[in-house]
C-alpha cells in the first residue's frame, strides 16, 4: 500500500493488535532474544559510545553536504557507465522504473528487500503489467507476497507477525507438502525462488549505502538474495532514499559494523557487498545499471529540527527495544515505518493528517534514543512533533486541549497550585468510590480508590484506579511547616 499500511483508524488498529496473541508473543520473544544478542555484540566490540559518535559524525556530515555527495555519487555511477534518476515523488520514480523495464524488454523481475521500493508500492504497479512477473525474494517478503501481499510489520523482520503454521499454510498453496519446520520451509522457498532467479532479467534492489567516491552501492543481506538479484539479471535497478550515502568505502565499512551489531547482534551481516555496473571483461552482474534516488518528502526534514532523522540506517534496533512496538506491533502503527523511527519519520513523509497520532503513541521512555547506533534523539523528536501539532499547527481541540491549558496555568501559578492543594480532595471526591484496596501502603491515605474520574482522569481510570488525594491537612507542605516549628530534627 506504500507508506500507509492500513485504512483503519488508530484506535481500531490498537484494538486489533491487542487481540493478536500470536503476533504479540512473537514480537516479545524477538525483542527479548535480540536484546541479549545486540547488547553482547556491542559490548564485545567495546567503546560502544564512541562508535556511536563516529557513526553519527559520518551520517551528520553526509546529510549536511548531501547535494555534494549526491552529485559526486551520480557522477561516478555515470563514469562506470550507469544511469541515475533523481525522483522528487514516488510517481516519478515508478514511471521511470516501469519505463526502464519496458525499454529493456524485461519480463521477470526479482526484488530483494528494500523499504524504499515498498514506499513506492512498485510491486502493485508491476503486477498490473500484463507480461511482467514480479517476485519478492527475501524469505519474509516472499511469505508476505504469497499471503496476498500482506503488509510488513518490521523494517528488518517484515513477517515477524506470522507464525510457522501460517507460513506452512501459505506455502501449501505453492505445492509445499512438508511440515512446519522453518528449515524445511526455507529449503522449499530456496528451490522455488532459485528457478525464478535463473529466469530473471531485471533485478531490483535497495541500497544500504551508496558510495560517493566510487559509484558503487553497498548491500547487506543474510540470505544472499540481493547478491543473486545483482548477479543474474542483465539489468539492475537500485532504488534508494536520497540520504543513504557515505563518502567512501571506508565509512561504509564503519556503518556496516554498526548496522550488523545493532540490527541482529551479528559482527557483520553474512553478505556485505559493494557492487555496481559491470566492469570490462566480467560476464555476470548488471550490464545496465540504474539508480533511482528518491526524495518523497525527505527534504522536508532538511534544515529543520527533524534533520537528524535522516541519519537513520534502518537497523530496527529502536523497534526492538520499544515497549509500545512490543504491544501494538508494526501493523498498529499503520505505517511502513513503524516503531520510534516510524513515529518520527512517517509524519514527515506522509504528513500530520495521516500520521499525526504516531508521535503521541510513545511513553517517551527513551529506550529508542538509548539504543540508536547513530545517536538520533528519537524521543526528543517525538516531543518536537507534538509541539508542531499543538503549538504551531493548533491541531489540538476540545476538552482535552482546554484541560492541558489549565494544567499549564495551574502549574505555573503558585497561587492556583495552592488552591488546588487545598481543594483537591473535595474536587475529586464525587468520584471517590469505596472499593477494596489491594495495592496497599502508598495509596492508603483515605482508604479509597477512584474508579471513574472526570475528563482526562477518565483516561486514567479506564485502565487503573486512582488514589484518592489526601486531605489538605495531611499534605507534605503542611506537615513540613509543623515539623520545622518543632525544631525540624528527625530522630
Amino acid at each position: 500500500m506504500g507508506l500507509k499500511t492500513s485504512t483503519l483508524p488508530f484506535t481500531e488498529r490498537i484494538a486489533d493488535a491487542a487481540k493478536d496473541q500470536f503476533a504479540h508473543a512473537s514480537i516479545a520473544k524477538a525483542q527479548d532474544t535480540q536484546y541479549t544478542k545486540r547488547e553482547n555484540a556491542r559490548a564485545e566490540l567495546g567503546h560502544w559510545q564512541d562508535w556511536r559518535k563516529l557513526g553519527q559524525s559520518i551520517r551528520q556530515h553526509v546529510i549536511q553536504y548531501l547535494p555534494d555527495y549526491l552529485e559526486e555519487f551520480s557522477d561516478n555511477v555515470e563514469k562506470r557507465g550507469g544511469h541515475v534518476f533523481f525522483a522528487q515523488t514516488t510517481d516519478e520514480a515508478n514511471d521511470f522504473i516501469l519505463n526502464v523495464i519496458k525499454q529493456q524488454n524485461g519480463h521477470h523481475v526479482v526484488k530483494s528487500k528494500s523499504m524504499v521500493t515498498a514506499e513506492l508500492d512498485i510491486d502493485k504497479k508491476l503486477q498490473a503489467l500484463p507480461d511482467v512477473s514480479i517476485l519478492e525474494t527475501d524469505l519474509a517478503e516472499f511469505i508476505l507476497q504469497e499471503d496476498d501481499w500482506d503488509e510488513p510489520s518490521h523494517i528488518v523482520f517484515p513477517a515477524i507477525h506470522k507464525n510457522r503454521d501460517q507460513v506452512q499454510t501459505i506455502f501449501k498453496k505453492l505445492g509445499y507438502d512438508g511440515d512446519n519446520d522453518p528449515e524445511h520451509m526455507a529449503r522449499f522457498a530456496r528451490k522455488y525462488l532459485r528457478q525464478r532467479f535463473l529466469e530473471a532479467d531485471i533485478g531490483i534492489t535497495g541500497c544500504n549505502f551508496a558510495i560517493a567516491d566510487s559509484g558503487l552501492i553497498n548491500l547487506d543481506t543474510n540470505e544472499g538474495n540481493a547478491d543473486l538479484a545483482d548477479s543474474i539479471p542483465k539489468t539492475q535497478i537500485v532504488v534508494m532514499g536520497m540520504e543513504r550515502l557515505v563518502p567512501s568505502m571506508k565509512e561504509a565499512e564503519i556503518m556496516d559494523n554498526l548496522l550488523a551489531r545493532s540490527a541482529v547482534g551479528q559482527k557483520l551481516t553474512t553478505y556485505v557487498t559493494f557492487e555496481g555496473q559491470q566492469s570490462a571483461g566480467e560476464s555476470d552482474g548488471p550490464e545496465d545499471f540504474y539508480v533511482v534516488i528518491l526524495d518523497n518528502n525527505r527534504s522536508k526534514a532538511l534544515g529543520t529540527e527533524f534533520q537528524e532523522i535522516l541519519q537513520c540506517i534502518r537497523c530496527g534496533a529502536c523497534l526492538n527495544v520499544c515497549p509500545v512496538y512490543r504491544q501494538i506491533g508494526g501493523h498498529g502503527y499503520g505505517s511502513l515505518y513503524p516503531g520510534p523511527v516510524g513515529a518520527v519519520l512517517s509524519p514527515i513523509l506522509g504528513g500530520y493528517e495521516q500520521f499525526g497520532e504516531l508521535p503521541f503513541a510513545s511513553s517517551l521512555c527513551a529506550a529508542c534514543t538509548e539504543t540508536c547506533p547513530v545517536l538520533i534523539p528519537l524521543h526528543n523528536l517525538l516531543i518536537k512533533h507534538r509541539e508542531v501539532e499543538t503549538d504551531r499547527l493548533k491541531m489540538m481541540h476540545g476538552f482535552t486541549d482546554f484541560q492541558m491549558r489549565v494544567v499549564g496555568k495551574g502549574t505555573s501559578s503558585p497561587f492556583m497550585f495552592k488552591m488546588a492543594l487545598r481543594f483537591k480532595h473535595f474536587g475529586l471526591s464525587p468520584w471517590t468510590h469505596q472499593r477494596p484496596v489491594t495495592a496497599t501502603n502508598f495509596f492508603e491515605y483515605n482508604g479509597a480508590m477512584i474508579t471513574n474520574g472526570p475528563g482526562m482522569v477518565g483516561g486514567w481510570t479506564d485502565v487503573r484506579d486512582l488514589p484518592s488525594p489526601p486531605k489538605h491537612r495531611d499534605d507534605f507542605r503542611v506537615w513540613f511547616k509543623h515539623h520545622k516549628q518543632q525544631g525540624g530534627e528527625t530522630k
Partner: protein, 266 residues
C-alpha cells in the same frame, strides 16, 4: 549540608508520605532540610505533550522557586523530575521568553545541584546503609527517565541491598516502560493498558510482596493497575523503605561496606 527538597507536583498532590520519609532520612543523615515555598512542577506534563509555549512559565516558576533558598543540593523524590531539571539548560535554548538569559543562567546552577534521592544518599552523602530494616521480599521497578535520561542505574539497587532482612528479586523485563509516560497514560490509555498489564504480570511472577521504585508516577500507574485487577501488592517509594524500622547504629558509609555488585543488566 543544606538541602532543598524539590517536592514535585505529584508528591504534593498525592503522596505526602514520600516527602515525610525523605525529610526524615535526610535529617537523620545530617542534612539541614528546607522546602522552597513557591515550587510547583517541572513542566513535563505540558512540555512532553507538545504544549511547549505553555511550559516556559512553568519552568520559570520552578527556577525562581528553587533559586529562592540558598542550598548546597536539591534533592528530588522522582527520577523523572530530576532528569528534566538537569535538562533545563538544553531545553531553555529554545525559550523565546527569556531574552536576557536570566533563567538559563539560574537553570545551569540548579541543574548542577539536583540529585534524585537515592543517588544523593549514595553518591553525595556517601551512605550505603541508612539503618533501615524491612522483613519482606521486594522487587524493584526501574523507571525509564531515571535510567536513561538521568543515567542512574545503580544507587537504588545498592541501597536496597543494605536494607536488613530485605530480599530483592530481579524483575523480568526490567528495561520495559510500565506505560506511565505522563499524559501518555491518559491520552493513549489503550496502549498504556497493554504495557502496564504486562508489567503487573512480570511483577507477580517474581513472587514479591512489595514493589519499590524511585518514581511515584510509575508506582501510581502500576499500583493503580494492581488495584483495578484486585491483586495484592504493597507499593513503597524507596524513601519509605529507607525510613523503615531504622536503627541508627546500623548506618554505614559506602567505604564501610563491601563493594556493591554491578547493577542488573540491562
Amino acid at each position: 549540608m543544606k538541602v532543598s527538597i524539590y517536592t514535585t507536583c505529584m508528591m504534593d498532590l498525592m503522596f505526602p508520605q514520600v516527602g515525610k520519609d525523605m525529610v526524615e532520612v535526610l535529617e537523620r543523615l545530617g542534612c539541614t532540610v528546607d522546602v522552597p515555598e513557591n515550587q510547583i512542577c517541572c513542566g513535563q506534563p505540558t512540555f512532553n505533550s507538545g504544549y511547549v509555549e505553555a511550559s516556559w512559565p512553568v519552568m520559570h516558576n520552578q527556577i525562581d522557586a528553587l533559586s529562592s533558598i540558598d542550598c548546597d543540593y536539591i534533592v528530588c523524590p522522582a527520577g523523572s523530575c530530576t532528569a528534566i531539571l538537569k535538562e533545563y539548560p538544553d531545553l531553555l535554548v529554545d525559550d523565546p521568553t527569556d531574552p536576557t538569559g536570566q533563567y538559563m543562567a539560574q537553570a545551569k546552577i540548579l541543574s548542577a545541584k539536583v540529585y534524585e534521592f537515592s543517588q544523593f544518599i549514595w553518591r553525595v552523602l556517601g551512605i550505603a546503609d541508612c539503618g533501615a530494616e524491612l522483613n519482606t521480599i521486594a522487587t524493584y521497578h526501574r523507571s525509564c527517565h531515571m535510567t536513561r535520561l538521568l543515567g542512574e542505574r545503580e544507587t537504588p539497587f545498592w541501597l536496597l541491598e543494605n536494607v536488613k532482612n530485605l530480599e530483592v528479586r530481579q524483575l523480568e523485563g526490567i528495561q520495559y516502560c510500565c506505560g506511565f509516560g505522563g499524559t501518555f497514560s491518559v491520552k493513549e490509555h489503550e496502549i498504556s493498558e497493554l504495557m502496564v498489564t504486562s508489567k503487573v504480570e512480570n511483577i507477580e511472577a517474581t513472587g514479591a510482596e512489595v514493589l519499590v521504585s524511585c518514581d511515584p508516577g510509575c508506582l501510581m500507574n502500576i499500583g493503580g493497575r494492581f488495584n483495578r485487577l484486585g491483586k495484592p501488592i504493597k507499593i513503597m517509594h524507596i524513601a519509605e523503605v529507607l525510613n523503615h524500622n531504622v536503627d541508627e547504629s546500623r548506618i554505614r558509609k559506602v567505604s564501610e561496606v563491601p563493594a556493591p555488585a554491578a547493577a542488573p543488566f540491562p
